[in-house]
Structures are given as structure tokens and as C-alpha cells.
Symmetry: D2
Subunit: 320 residues, 4 copies
């Protein structure tokens, strides 16, 4: 390194906030400071903008964590509607909570400083500081029973199962619905590990429904094999992140863009907290990829990024 | 509260270490101090001892994180062999790494301060500071191809699939093998999300193998429904924790004992970092349960607990 | 609890982002979702707005962490200039970095993925992914030597010392300068633990400078004793947080407003990660206080809050 | 890198626990596994053993966090008594809690799941899940008043002040006492930020006591300048870590051994969570140093290390 190397680096400009500044203007200020958490938000916005605009890029969204009780559902839906995301891999819990709201139930603003015993008595389920009335399971059962009966009897994979389910969802603003309507590939490898999974189990006591545990891999890997460029956005870790990672591992093209938003840390060795660059060793991430680890609560980082990107894309559209 | 309430509480005794003290003696000292991290280790040992000794108790182990590359495999195997654990729910990654070692490969002591690009060139995969030669996939493919061909053609659930696989594992000291040999129920809802899953996908290109995504739920829920008392040990969160939780949610008996070892935190609302007490609201954890959240790297906490419990059980055996 | 209790709670509204939305509009959306990280940001904005508008309230800012290299200096300065904050307690490092920039040096946008040995060779100091040329110490020494010589010979407390120092700072946009100019009480109990402290040590080899370790407590406690209402904003923990807390502990009025922004967690028992409510037991926080723990990187949360509050206060001003 | 590079690395051996294994035997097993959290514990034991045995090495202990309420006091005392540590830098809180116990008061095993308002009513102060009766302040005041009156009237530095205080402590098993008796340099740059500091403030209302804020730096820097080899053990971060770091920064010899035990993480840029290697860029840590970051609750890691080292040193003594 040359001793004056730092002079060729950008200075850390001090973030200047203004009274009516838009979210994108704030993110642009964070880009000027360029370091620590704020710097990662700015870099994530940059990468997100690029991978959305890159018409050859297939964008995979890995979605873990309590995103629907956490108020992030509409943002996800907008991403799907506006074509920011081409493939979604999620936990069953997110789909269950999405379905719960689509059936007219709600999550409530509660608190974690409460007696869980008291909540249990009045049949309210707690998700940190969000509450969900336990009776959502009644509506869930009713809807699922009816919908499962309409499904084809032959073997399906989980994606097909979810598309069938989504088609019947009686509410537009739903992740399941939009994926079904727009035929957006939706993968949920651990669907059996969710409220929806339990409904399938219940239904199978007396009826037949045949869903394969492995068949989705074909669809998933076909996508990574045929796509020219790949981009990933991991919100939380878990199965959704890992499932995308492994599909990229053996694909001809590793990810060229990657964003990870999580509060998990790498030291304990798990996949959820692993830094993105680790994926380079495996061939999951391209060595020339643009990537950034955002260590932040997704319910804070995602809305900020979403608003900033919407503004940027609008400008871009108007420029053309 | 009475103003002298604290006088009825135990004092925080200062931990005294000695030069040849056993792990259990150290944990007993932590019990005397009783607070913060050390206090949770002591409480976890206490609960673990109780749930193992409680003959009516079915103990569920939820296993996430890189436990095999992290050197915890033998501890898990001993737990299974010695009957501490009755049911195991795990990620596919742990089973893949277990199989990798059973086939004669090794994980290596690497470092995270290294160029992942360089590692990629020499085909070494990084798991934080553990390295795995990428060619394990060759051995994996060879073994799986051969073993899958021996499997029954009719529909299986994942547990049955894993027992068939485990039976053929050519090495005694294996999680898969011991579960197969001892017919220990082993659940892996997201098996498709793993190296073993990829082998199934590869095999299915030309062959037939029929594994259901939902059928295991029957076995799992039957266990929670018929067991008199339930105890859980969650190492990490993810699908393994949640899968056990949901099976308990609708069971007649919620968990009476619960230990969670994770570095994840509750604030962001995900299931992995959720405090155990949250489960009381859902009916997953009994309101009178003994439970403790251990916020610690499992590769540190688990060996300490394992050694302490082995000593306690030996004393117990000798007393009888 | 009544079984329909949740119906009286606010629903979790899904956050809706818009293309040109302002930061405050985003925070208002977070207020509507009301839970998890986003909910804490909204609540923090609400409390901050209230404590700034409350004319009887003395607002204490506790400032730890690398706020200047992290691009937050201007936001702090604006808070001081606009009268949002009445008293500041900080680490010596923040003042040193502030002084470094005031003397014409810069921090640079570097990376943590670099050889520290190489950086050492070219004399660049790393602060995570910010770089600082080591030769700032030359300018620091020159300025301090000259300025210390101008100081009174009699005993000072640290606040007075910092005001004297700040007066000579040759740059308007400086925390030290603005505190000196506006006579804003500035406390730095561990000033000896900083680059400025080292300069004092160096100067004292041949000169006399007499600064008391304890005298500031009088000024600090006088403020908490005479203020009608107290509000606190803790950015990071450490000495700044604790110093404010202890001044409130024996004051007639505990804090009525409290915001804490940190990524530290409570389990290990340290003051930095302790939840605010713990302060109620000590009498540091009023039992009826409005308070919120924001678990977030301050370089992300603080700019968002700053922008939102600026917009709110502008509206408020215009309404009047 | 050579493609068979990994073959020259140690394998990850699976940790084998045994029923009566000593803590050191467990740490040796962790050494064999060599990775992740367990690997860092093993490496820390190795470094600690080396720096204690290295007769030329001056060992600095940086002590933050609630170590006395957390049950770690005796371990610290043993370190001081047995000569493992040559210099201690600590927070005022640790010394206050040490004094509180030396005066016959106790900390109690409480819980964090409690109403802080109720605790306040009965005058019990909470430190996470440890409780302290608020009336300790009465005893503290009485002792301090009496002891301060015995102190010399001339100017002292904080170390001298603490030695004077420690001399009068009426209980052998005390950090303050042992430092005073053995003339172990004890630094507490932010002493004013503590219960003891408040007592000085109270005393100074009517009496004179003259303690300099900067004079300790001379003593501290003299030590780092004259010591041949330096080793550091940071428990938590904060002022204690930083104060040692800065004394090393300008010393002729950077630290050759370094251990850091904390749960704080580097991403937000603060000194407390900064990785040790960052110190190499500053010249605080030697580029050839043996060092390790242990990401673990200190109340778990420290007792384990203490017991293991005691066994190792005993063997070493017997060998000679």
C-alpha cells in the first residue's frame, strides 16, 4: 500500500439532515458518509437499484423472520408487484401470517413486557411485541379445508401447492395471492413447519393430498441454471437464505449482486449470520459481485430502502 | 413485595475456581452465583438433569447451526446413545456434514481472516473458521446414488428416508447411523435445503424416489400427543426449534422442561431469538415449566453442560 | 385481562412506502405498524419530539461510540445548535475525532477487510471501516500545546477545561466549539482516556495544568437537582450513559423521557446494554416516564430520527 | 494457496466429554476441535498460560461490566493474588460493588422478569437479574466519610486515592484491598462515574480532597514504557480497554499477547466491540502477537478459563 493511499479514498462526509428530506435524500447522505451501519444502508440501496435495473438479472428474495406481524407485508407485496423480485423463498410462518391477514384477521400492537400466562388464558399468541388472537386458527382451518378440497389429486410440488392455495385467497393484498396471480415462483422448503403445514396434516387425516418434499428443487435449480445474471436479497437467514445459496452453488453463474439484512453475527458459525463473502469460497457469490452485509433490524432497514428505491426508480423512469 | 424480600433470595456467591475442579464442580459454582450468563448455565444443567431423569419425559432436541464443523457431533451422538434425547429435529446441513465425516472426509481448522476468492480457487468451502474440501461432494454423490437405489420405491416420509440412509452409513460414530440403528425418530422438515437434498434432486433426474413433504407431521404429532411429559433442548433456532414448538402447541401437554442455547436476540421478532416464555402464550410451554434461555455460543455451552451432566448421572447411578 | 383485550389495541398496519416520501412520513408509517424495531423508531421520534417541545425539560445527551468517524457529527451539532439538547456527556474519543476534523484532517471511507499490518506500515489507523491518518496526532499536539498554554493556571474542572479548549477551536462546525460558544455544559468524565487526554499528559511533563477528577460532579448534579423535568437520549452506553443515570439517581426528579439507541443487549448484565426500565428500580427513570429502547446501529437510527424531528418541529413552528 | 493446503491444517476433532473431566481437560478438547466459540476459548487459555508464564510480560487486565454482581469477584482476586495480572484498569462500578460486599452487604439472585416499579418501592436496585438493596449507600457513605478524612490533603492521582481507600477496607477478599496491600497499580479513569465518585462529591461539599484527572496517565504510561513485553486481557470494553490500548499505542512495545472477552460486535464501529486486530493498525497490538477475540458472556468464559489455567500452572509448578 502506498503511504498516501487514504488520500485516494473518499472522505467521510458528515451526514446532514434537512427538515423535509425524502428517504432517498437521507440514503444519499449516508452514501456520502460511507461507513459503518449508515454506509451499508447506502451500499444496499445502490446494489438494489442496480439489480432491479439490470434486465438480465433474476432477483431472489429470501424471507425469514416475522415480517408480516412486523409490518413489512406491503413492502414485500410492492416488491413483487413492481417486479423488483423474480423469485421468493420464504418460511411457512410468513405465509401463514399473510394468509391470516388475508382472511380478515389482524395482528395487534402489544408488548413483550407482559405475562405470557395471562395471554394464554385469554388465548392471545405473542410474537415479541405483536399479538395474534389464537382463534385465527379457526378461520385458517375453514379456509384450508375448503381450498385443499379443490386441489388436484395428483402429486404436486410445494410451489404448485402454494399457487393453488394463493389462487383462492379472498384478498388482493397478499403475498400468496400475488405470487399465484403473477405466477411468481414461490418456494417454501419447510412449509410443513408452519400453521399451513399443520392444516395439511389435519386434512390428510381423512383426505389425500400428495406434495413432494424434493420436487421444487428442479424448478429452483432450473431458474438459477437458465438465468444470465443472479441477484439475491436475504432478509434474515434460515432456510430461505440457504436454499437460494445452494441453488447458486452449482449454477453456472454465481450471484453478481447480494444484500443481506440481519442482526445475526458470524462468530457462532451458522449460515444465518455468515457474512456474504463466505459464499465466494463455495461458488455461491461471484468474486466480482457487488455485495453488502447490513447488520440491522429488517423492520427498520427495509422500509428505508424501499422508499429510497421507489424514488430512484421513478427518477429513472422519468429520465427515459 | 415485602421490603425485605431480597433477604429471602439466595445471595450471589462469588464463583471460586480450583485447580483440578471438574466441569460439574464449576457448574455447581455457577449455580451458587446464580445470575447472568453463569446462572443460566447452572440452571440449564439443573433442568437437563431433571428431564433426563424424569422417565416419563420425552426429550426433543432441536439442532440448528454448524454443529458438526463446530466439533459438537460426538456430544450429540453421546446424547442419543445414552438416551438423553428421544427425538431429534435438525437442519439438513448438520446431517450432510455428519455424512461427510462418516464417509471419511474431514473438516479443518481454518480461519475467517482469509481471501474467499483464494479458497474458491483451490476448491475449499468455508464455514466461518472451519474449512471443508469441496470434493466431499464427489463422495457424497457416490454414496447417495448407491444408497438411494436400495431404497423402497413406495412413498416415504423424511424420517423413513433418513433411517434408510442412516442404515447404510459405513461408520458407527454418526448421527444418521445411530438414529437409524436405534430407531430414534429423526425429523428434518427442510431436508431438501441441504447437500443431501441436492443429491436426491440429482438422483431424481433419472430415477424415482417418492418422499412426502408433510407425512412426518403425523409421526411428530403422534409423539407429542402420546407422551406424558415433554422436554425440549433447542440448540440454535430456525426450523428445528419451530417444528418442535408447533407440535407442542396443539398437544395435550405443553413442554414441562425447556432449554434454549442461542446467541440470537428477541427484539427483531423472529422465532429463533424469541424467549422461551413467549411459548407460554401459545400453549407450547407449560406455565409451570422449568425453563431457561442460555445466551451463549453453543460450542462453548454445550460441552460444559454435557460434561457436567455426565458426572451428575454417574453419581446418580452409583447412588442407586 | 379481558379475553377481547387485543381488540382495544391498535392493529399492526402494514408499512406503505411511497416514492417521494419524507423521512418523517416513513417514521409515521412505522408508528402505524407500531411493533418490533420499526415501532421503537416511531416511539423514539414521538418521545424526542415531546421532550424537545417540553420547555421545562432539560435534555441530556449521552454520546458513546465512534460517532464522528461514523458520520454523525453534524447531526449532533445541529442538535446542540437548535437547542434540542441542553447537556452533553461524551467519551474523550468523540471529542478527539471532532477536534481532528476541526483542525482540517479527515476520516476516510475504508474497509475492515484489510491487513492491519499493512495499514500500520503506512501509518493509517483503522476504526472498523473508517481510516484516519496517524499524523493527525502531529496537528493535535501542535494545537493542544498552544491552547493549553493559554489556559488559566488555577484548578479547573473538566467542563471548564473543555470550554477553554473549545473556544480556541478554529472551525465553526465542531462539537467542542459550539459547546464553548453557547456555554452548553459538556461533561467527559474519562477525558484522560483519549487523544486529548494524552496531550494533557504530554504537556504536563514540563508545564502545569490542574484539572480535578471529581469537581464536574457538582455542576452535573446541580443541573439535575434544579431542573424541573429531565429527558435523556443515550447513544451507546459506557460512561456517558452511566454518568447521566447516576446524576438522576439521587435527583428529586427522575427522567420523564428516555431514549436509548444501542446494539448492546442486557443479558450479560453490563450498564451499556441494560434496558431503560431497569432505571426505574434505581430511581433514575420515573415510573410514569415515556421511554423506549431502540436496538439499532445509531448511524442508521439517529439520522432517520433527526430528519423526522426536523420536519415535525418545522410544522409545529409554522402552526404557531 | 496450494490446492491441498487444507491437508496441512489440523482436523476439527469432535469434542469428547467425559464424566469426571476437569475444566482443563474440557478446554483441551476444545483445543482439538479448534474452531468457532470453543476454539476461541482454547486459544485464550493457551495465550493466558503463555503470558502468565512469560516472566518478562506485564499483564494488564481491563475490567468492565457487572463483574461483582455477576459472581466473578473471587476469580479477579485470585488473578491478582496469584500474580497473573500486574496492572488493573476498571470501571468505578466494579470497585463500588466490591466495596459494598467488603462492607458486609450482598448482591442477591433476582430476576429480570419483575416490575421495576415494585422494586423501587421496596428500595431494591436491579442489575439485570441481580438485586442490590439500596441501603448499601448508607454503609458506603459512612465508610467513605471516615476513610476520606484519613486521606492526605495534598494532590493525589486516582491510583493513590484508591490505594488509600483500599488500605482501610475491612475485609481481605476485596479487589480494592488486595491492590492496596500488594501495591498493584489500579487505574479507574472514570472513577467519578460511580458510587464511590458520588461519595467524593458529597464529601467535597464540606471538605477538601484533591484528585487529579490526568496524573494517573504518567504512572500508566511509565509502566508500558518500561515493560519489556506486554499482555492484555480485556473483559468487556469501555474505558478500561481503551485506556490500556492508548497507553500501548505510543509505547515502544505493542502488546504481544491479547485476549478479549465480550459479546459486543464490531459493525457499529465502537471501541468496545472492535476486533483486537484493529489494534495492529494503531500500533497497540504487535503484528506478531498471539491474540484472540472470545465472543462470549464473560461470566461463562472467565470461570472456565480460570479453572483451566489453575490446573495448567499447577502442573507446570510440579514439573519444575
Amino acid at each position: 500500500m502506498h503511504k498516501d493511499m487514504h488520500k485516494h479514498l473518499d472522505k467521510v462526509h458528515q451526514i446532514k439532515t434537512e427538515k423535509n428530506m425524502t428517504c432517498n435524500e437521507l440514503v444519499n447522505q449516508m452514501d456520502k458518509s460511507g461507513v459503518m451501519g449508515a454506509g451499508t444502508i447506502a451500499k444496499a440501496a445502490d446494489i438494489m437499484e442496480h439489480m432491479i435495473k439490470d434486465r438480465k438479472c433474476t432477483v431472489f428474495l429470501g424471507l425469514a423472520g416475522a415480517m408480516v406481524p412486523g409490518g413489512q407485508k406491503q413492502i414485500i407485496i410492492d416488491m413483487l408487484k413492481d417486479g423488483w423480485v423474480d423469485v421468493i423463498v420464504t418460511t411457512g410462518a410468513n405465509l401463514t401470517h399473510d394468509l391470516v391477514e388475508a382472511l380478515g384477521y389482524h395482528h395487534y400492537q402489544g408488548t413483550h413486557m407482559i405475562s405470557d400466562e395471562e395471554l394464554n388464558k385469554i388465548r392471545v399468541d405473542r410474537i415479541y411485541d405483536a399479538f395474534m388472537p389464537d382463534k385465527v386458527y379457526e378461520g385458517l382451518e375453514k379456509f384450508c379445508k375448503k381450498t385443499f378440497a379443490l386441489m388436484p389429486k395428483e402429486k404436486m410440488n410445494i410451489k404448485e401447492f402454494l399457487w393453488h392455495l394463493g389462487k383462492e385467497v379472498p384478498y388482493e393484498n397478499s403475498i400468496l395471492k400475488i405470487c399465484a396471480d403473477k405466477k411468481i415462483p414461490i418456494f417454501c422448503p419447510a412449509l410443513s413447519d408452519s400453521g399451513i403445514g399443520l392444516q395439511v396434516w389435519s386434512y390428510m387425516q381423512e383426505n389425500k393430498i400428495d406434495v413432494s418434499a424434493f420436487d421444487d428443487l428442479k424448478d429452483m435449480i432450473d431458474i438459477t441454471w437458465t438465468s444470465e445474471t443472479n441477484g439475491v436479497l436475504y432478509i434474515g437467514g434460515g432456510v430461505p437464505k440457504n436454499y437460494i445459496q445452494q441453488a447458486l452453488q452449482f449454477a453456472p453463474t454465481a450471484a453478481s449482486y447480494a444484500i443481506q439484512i440481519t442482526t445475526d453475527t458470524p462468530e457462532s458459525g451458522g449460515s444465518s449470520g455468515a457474512e456474504l463473502r463466505e459464499g465466494i469460497s463455495w461458488g455461491k457469490l461471484d468474486k466480482k459481485a457487488k455485495y453488502v452485509n447490513v447488520t440491522c433490524d429488517a423492520t427498520i432497514a427495509l422500509p428505508l430502502l424501499s422508499a429510497a428505491i421507489k424514488e430512484r426508480l421513478e427518477k429513472y423512469k422519468n429520465q427515459k
